[in-house]
Each structure stands twice: as structure tokens, then as C-alpha cells.
């Protein structure tokens, strides 16, 4: 069963000073799966994301993606292996245009050399055209193509979130990691987002792992859920199971007074 998992994490540990942010974290994710990671504030969810994407180095444990270990690799190498992410607090290239935000994500497969660019050889113009065309395609999917020349910082909040997903998708990942994609969205926007997330998964043949506090979204789209509290997995299972899990309810609402 292990050999089919797209992402497999074993005994992951990370502590900051004396604080264990992630403790003995075990996790697996199959191709095409849509998995949620939930837990109270400070449970270590974003730390897990940062460990997977190489922002932090784990103290212990192994992360295997598509049968090759990625523990301790640089973020850009992990991205090249096919993991892309968005951020809890949006991290767009604010002063650049919407189009450039996506074109930067396409840079890792840039089809021409630097010398070609400096001498402005024909291959440069062909390559730029190709990059721009591909970027516009991603923008169209996310209904941002009409705003391609706007600066990213001038987009409304919901569109910034969408642009972040578009940018992540432009690295053509096999695993997309979304850190609170619905944060700050109203219920209507959240419902649209749910449709978008499902659509991406089906259309692009990839797995999605997301952190979210909005339970309607998590219960609505995730096929399997992990619950994290104090850096440890306290529950794992189908949305129905999680909803009725006693430990989960305790973690969120506190224990019943005996």
C-alpha cells in the first residue's frame, strides 16, 4: 500500500527552541486525493506545510514524494518535483502585474538561455510568446485573464487568493497545498472556491492538501481529514467520522466537565 502513496510522511518532528511544533507526525496521501488538515490555532498545521515544502528542515523523520525522498531539499527543488502551495497570508509579487506573477511560476521551465535573452535571438521571442500564452491559459481558467495587466496588489482580496492558486498551478504540480484558501472570504465566495478546488483536482489530475478553518468547506470537499492538536495527529478519517469524533470535539470545544 505504501508504494502507491503520492506523499508519505513518517515520524516527522520539528521543534522551535523547547516547543515541539510537530510531534511524530505520520501522514499519507494518495494520487488524486483531496485531504484536509484541521486543528485549533497553533496546532502546527502551517508548520507541517512548511516542512513539506522545504521552508523548514525537519529535526527528524522522512518525507517521501512520488517515491523519492524530499526531506531537507531546497524549496525550489521540491517545487520542481511537483509540489506547489499557497500561503495563509497571501504572498503575491505585489508590485508586479497579474500576468508576471504567473509568468514567474513558469520560469523553472524557461525555454531559452540567458544569452539568448541578452542578444534577443529569435528563440527568445518564441519562448516569451510561449510563456505568455501558457500564463494566459492559467489566468483564463481562474477568470483573471481580463486583469492580466493590473498590479497584483490592486486586485480585490478574493481575486488575490485566486491568483495565488493560479500561480501555484502554473508550476504544474502533482500535489497542490492550500493554506487556508477561504480565509477572509464570504459564504458565497467560499462556495465558489469549493467548486474551483474540486474542478482543479478533476481537470488537472492532481492531489490537494488543504488547511482550513471553515468547516463547511472542509467537510464539503475533503475526502479524508487529519486533525492536528499540539503537533500530534489526534484523529484521521472520513469527514463523517471526524465530525463525531470525541477527541476532536474536545480539542475544539474543551472537555466536558465531569
Amino acid at each position: 500500500m505504501k508504494n502507491v502513496a503520492l506523499l508519505n510522511i513518517e515520524n516527522l518532528h520539528k521543534s522551535f527552541g523547547g516547543l515541539s511544533a510537530v510531534l511524530d507526525f505520520n501522514f499519507h496521501l494518495e494520487p488524486q486525493e483531496l485531504v484536509g488538515l484541521i486543528g485549533p490555532n497553533g496546532a502546527g498545521k502551517t508548520t507541517v506545510f512548511n516542512l513539506i515544502t522545504g521552508v523548514y528542515r525537519p529535526d527528524q523523520g522522512s518525507i517521501v514524494f512520488d517515491e523519492s525522498p524530499i526531506t531537507g531539499l531546497h524549496p525550489y527543488d521540491i517545487c520542481k518535483k511537483g509540489i506547489a502551495r499557497t500561503f495563509q497570508n497571501i504572498r503575491l509579487f505585489k508590485d508586479l502585474t497579474v500576468l508576471d506573477n504567473v509568468r514567474i511560476a513558469l520560469h523553472k521551465d524557461v525555454p531559452y538561455r540567458m544569452s539568448t535573452a541578452i542578444f534577443r535571438l529569435p528563440a527568445f521571442f518564441r519562448g516569451e510568446k510561449e510563456i505568455t500564452r501558457a500564463a494566459m491559459q492559467y489566468l483564463e481558467i481562474f477568470h483573471l485573464d481580463s486583469k492580466c495587466d493590473e498590479l497584483a496588489c490592486n486586485l480585490p482580496y478574493g481575486e488575490q487568493r485566486r491568483l495565488e492558486i493560479a500561480r501555484a498551478m502554473a508550476t504544474h504540480p502533482r500535489l497542490l497545498i492550500l493554506d487556508e484558501p477561504a480565509a477572509g472570504m464570504n459564504p458565497i465566495e467560499t462556495r465558489e472556491l469549493m467548486g474551483l478546488i474540486r474542478g482543479i483536482r478533476d481537470e488537472f489530475d492532481l492531489s490537494i492538501l488543504l488547511i482550513e478553518h471553515d468547516m463547511s468547506l472542509v467537510m464539503g470537499v475533503c475526502e479524508r481529514i487529519y486533525v492536528l492538536d499540539y503537533g500530534q495527529v489526534i484523529a484521521e478519517g472520513l469527514p463523517e467520522e471526524i465530525r463525531n469524533n470525541k477527541r476532536v470535539i474536545e480539542a475544539y470545544l474543551g472537555e466536558e466537565v465531569g
Partner: protein, 321 residues
């Protein structure tokens, strides 16, 4: 569709303007209409443009605050002077060697220091710039503190024009490519950039090396015009001078760097006879610009084509940092 027809015409027009500028200046020099005084300032102007444009690649586009540009200029000046004077190399070879040596110095200094950020990087590069100067001061072979005297005057208008043009073209073409976007993404958000698959260290070092390389070229041109080079010429005040041009012009605008370099050169020349007033006025202008135009004369926009009409146009949204 209309654009496509305009393109070759515009290109030819641009080439025409360049050729015209070159020929007119060349004519003025050969007929003696442009006297020695103006020629010196013209040379300074071109050298300053090269320095400002190349530093802007590091400070403006990549967002890495470097204060060691004069150090790379020194490397170029000394290497080229030694090659022409002691080894009898032609000027072109000296210039290329100056670029290579300065680029190499940029690489050696960039790899360890570019792990640092902001103020720390500024101090480290400042330190390295000073190290280069002090090392030169202590090498007898290049004259120690007295420097090198009697360097042949090989820097002529065609050389200056060509070097300035090449510098601007390389920087502009680099910046306006996928590689340039990668460089700018480092400035915008280093973490996001890494997670989008960009090896940020590599692009920081790249910008640093290219910037240093052209500083070396400026050094070679300088050495072969002003007869004498001394380590003291390339102290941190020189680096600071270049930084002022870049900040004045607008971080991340090549045209801004060019305009600011011209402006500062002219200002320095005009106020030459009032050294005390000069420094005061210099400071005053900087303060005024920083109050009314904190993003620099050009912000991060370019002058030309599209933006010409909007030069002093509307503010650019909540982009203030």
C-alpha cells in the same frame, strides 16, 4: 495588429537617434567645439551611467542593498591599467579583462555575503569594498597609496558611447526576460519566489556578478581617461555616490538611473567652483526628492514608449513600503 507595423519603424527610429547622437558628439569633439571641460564631464557622465545602471540591477531589481560598487570599479581600473601599461595589451583586451576580474570579484564576494539580508548585506558589501581598497593600498606593484600614474589616455568618445550602450542593452534585455522576472521576484518576495521553483541564491549571485562586471568596465574607462588612479578614489564615498544616483532615479528603473546619473554629473560640474555650497545643495536636493518623490524620480517605471505620458501621473496604489 497595428503595433506590429509600428515595431520596425520604431526600432529604426531608435537606431537613428543613437547614430545621430554619436555622430554629432563625435563631430563636436573633432572640430574642437566641445572643449576639454565639456569632454571631461561627458566622460564622467558615461561612466556614471554605467555605474548607476549596473548598481541598479543589484539594488533596484534584485533588491539586495550593496554598498561595495566602488570596490569592483577599482578592480576593473587596476586590472586594465596594469594590463595596458605593464603588459602592453590593447585597450579592448584590458577592458574585457577588467570586466572578467570585477565579475570574478563579484562572484567571490557575492556567494558568501548574499546569504545576508538588508542592513547586514549592506555592511558586508561595504566592508568588502573597503577591503579591496586597502589591499590595493598595500600592493607595491600597483603603487601602494600613490596608485598608478601615467595611464595612457585611450578612452575616447566611441569607447564611452559603445560601453554605455552595451551596459544599458545588456541590463535592459536581461531584466525584460524570464530571467529578469526571476530576479525581480527575489526582490518582491524571496520565500514565494523559492516556492515557485526559483533558486533565489543563484539569481542574486547572477545579478551581483553582472553588476560587478560593468562596474569593472566603468573602472577601466575611468583609468584610461584620468591618467591616474589611486585607491582613495574608490573609497566608500564613491560607492555612496553611485547609490545616491540609483535611489534618486528610482530603484528598479533603468531610465531613472540614467537620468539621475546625468543629473548628478551636471550638478557636480555646475557647482564645481563652490565646493562648500555643492555638498549642501546636493543634500538639499536629495532631501527634497525624498520628501516629494520618495520612490525616486522614476519609481520603478521606465521612461519611453508607454509611460512617457504618465511620468508624473497618478500614484500607484497602496504600494508604499
Amino acid at each position: 495588429m497595428q503595433k506590429r507595423n509600428i515595431k520596425p519603424v520604431r526600432f529604426l527610429a531608435e537606431v537613428g537617434i543613437l547614430v545621430a547622437v554619436f555622430t554629432v558628439v563625435q563631430y563636436l569633439i573633432t572640430t574642437g567645439l566641445l572643449n576639454q571641460y565639456y569632454q571631461i564631464n561627458l566622460t564622467s557622465m558615461c561612466i556614471n551611467i554605467i555605474l548607476a545602471v549596473s548598481l541598479n540591477l543589484i539594488n533596484g531589481f534584485t533588491g539586495q542593498l550593496s554598498l561595495g560598487h566602488a570596490g569592483f570599479m577599482a578592480v576593473g581600473a587596476y586590472v586594465s591599467a596594469v594590463l595596458t601599461m605593464n603588459m602592453g595589451m590593447p585597450f579592448l583586451v584590458s577592458c574585457l579583462a577588467a570586466c572578467l576580474a570585477a565579475g570574478l570579484a563579484g562572484f567571490l564576494i557575492g556567494v558568501p555575503t548574499l546569504r545576508l539580508k538588508g542592513d547586514y548585506l549592506a555592511i558586508a558589501t561595504l566592508g568588502f569594498g573597503e577591503i579591496i581598497r586597502v589591499v590595493l593600498q598595500n600592493i607595491e606593484y600597483v603603487g601602494g597609496p600613490a596608485g598608478i600614474l601615467g595611464i595612457p589616455k585611450l578612452t575616447t568618445w566611441p569607447w564611452l558611447f559603445g560601453a554605455t550602450l552595451v551596459t544599458i542593452l545588456v541590463v535592459v534585455n536581461l531584466v525584460n526576460s524570464s530571467y529578469g522576472r526571476a530576479i525581480v521576484s527575489v526582490r518582491e518576495d524571496e520565500i514565494a519566489s523559492e516556492l515557485m521553483g526559483i533558486n533565489t541564491t543563484r539569481y542574486k549571485v547572477l545579478a551581483f556578478v553582472v553588476g560587478a562586471l560593468f562596474a569593472g568596465l566603468a573602472g577601466a574607462l575611468y583609468a584610461h581617461y584620468f591618467y591616474v588612479i589611486k585607491p582613495e578614489t574608490f573609497n566608500f564615498l564613491k560607492s555612496f555616490d553611485i547609490l545616491v544616483m540609483v535611489v534618486l532615479g528610482g530603484l528598479g528603473s533603468t531610465t531613472g538611473a540614467v537620468i539621475a546619473a546625468i543629473f548628478i554629473t551636471v550638478l557636480t560640474a555646475v557647482l564645481q567652483s563652490f565646493p562648500a555650497v555643492r555638498m549642501m545643495l546636493y543634500a538639499l536636493i536629495l532631501i527634497i526628492v525624498m520628501i516629494y518623490r520618495p520612490q525616486g524620480l522614476m519609481g520603478n517605471r521606465e521612461l519611453g514608449r508607454k509611460t512617457l505620458g504618465r511620468l508624473w501621473g497618478e500614484k500607484r496604489g497602496p504600494a508604499e513600503h
